[in-house]
Subunit: 186 residues, 2 copies
DNA sequence: AAAAATATGTAGACCGATCTATTGAGAAAA
DNA sequence: TTTTCTCAATAGATCGGTCTACATATTTTT
């Protein structure tokens, strides 16, 4: 794989990631991905021989790793779990608002869209959530928290719920309320 | 509106509701709605002159009212909020599992799909969530709970998060964990 | 070092399928 | 008879995917 090839590939993945995040699987039409990345149609099937599903799967994995890295960074920096989750909510709320309420959870939309119709992509999404959950659980266990597994799942559910509600209502309010609830929970 | 007309209309709404719930906006193709309801193409545009968006909007409102009624019934029956939320989670988990992991939140998928591209439907979804939230808040306030607003939003976020995670992972486990977290929260 | 051969990408025309929407004739109900 | 509603044919756009020709590197051969 030459230099130019990788560049095009990365551009296409980035374009797909952005479109998926704001409009899900069906919101990321191949024509739009191509237009956004400036690549012609043939290049897509050169770099992603299995077509759209392969492109979407790789874009989801990339997005998943980005959030994982974010959680890891915050987890290393924060004094305790409560502070970590607090700043995670802040970062996500900022990201959502500054994007014009279009960038919420990068996998939730696809997860719900395809969970009943595309087993491969469903598993990709499940794996992403699993990795986030275990990152949270690790930090909770390190803090000596009782029931780290239950709490990690609950925090993930709260964050996903907040992302959904805030996006639909176009308001940071759900984040603020959830943050206070998390403080009470931990 | 005659008897036969209403029947067709209701059948179409029901078909749309089911398809939307398992595959979202794009999962509910008009051909599928028509096939599932046994109605011809022309009838759809007779009963829903504004086309697909009107059909989807009414289906979402119907689904919203069904869940509102469920929450209201449970809220009237349960001894306290913790018990109410517990049985709500049970009912939703049963519904999800028995449907083959296809019936989660009836509005979440559409909400995420269209929140950046269809202002009308976005507002319909926002209104549905608002009504559920206020139903929860009412029960919390009646129980004399401190910060009923924060807690209602947090519970709704938890429930939505659990529906998402359980559906993607095809497991009741997220419900069980969230239920224990809710018990700790209340 | 020059030339030939091979691998790596680019480029867009084109295909069948599917999508939502429109139309108008005619059956059923009031 | 007039309104209500059904029914299928059809339109036009867009979808994901395939195909072949072409350009640009990289390697091999002479």
């Amino acid at each position: 794989m030459g230099e130019k090839g990788t560049q095009t590939r990365v551009r296409m993945l980035g374009a797909a990631q952005g479109l998926i995040e704001s409009g899900g699987y069906h919101g990321a039409g191949l024509n739009q991905v191509l237009a956004a990345s400036g690549a012609p149609r043939g290049s897509l099937y050169f770099h992603f021989p299995s077509g759209k599903d392969q492109l979407v799967a790789e874009a989801l994995e990339r997005a998943g790793q980005e959030i994982s890295a974010l959680v890891r960074d915050l987890a290393d920096a924060g004094p305790d779990t409560a502070a970590v989750v607090g700043s995670l909510l802040d970062v996500l709320a900022d990201r959502l608002e500054t994007s014009g309420w279009s960038k919420g959870c990068p996998v939730a939309t696809v997860a719900l869209e395809v969970s009943a119709s595309n087993e491969t992509l469903r598993q990709v999404c499940a794996e992403v959530y699993r990795s986030w959950e275990s990152a949270l659980e690790g930090r909770l266990a390190a803090d000596g928290h009782p029931a780290p597994q239950d709490t990690a799942t609950a925090i993930l559910a709260l964050v996903e719920g907040a992302l959904l509600l805030a996006r639909v209502q176009r308001s940071r309010e759900p984040f603020a309320r959830v943050a206070r609830a998390v403080a009470a929970l931990l």
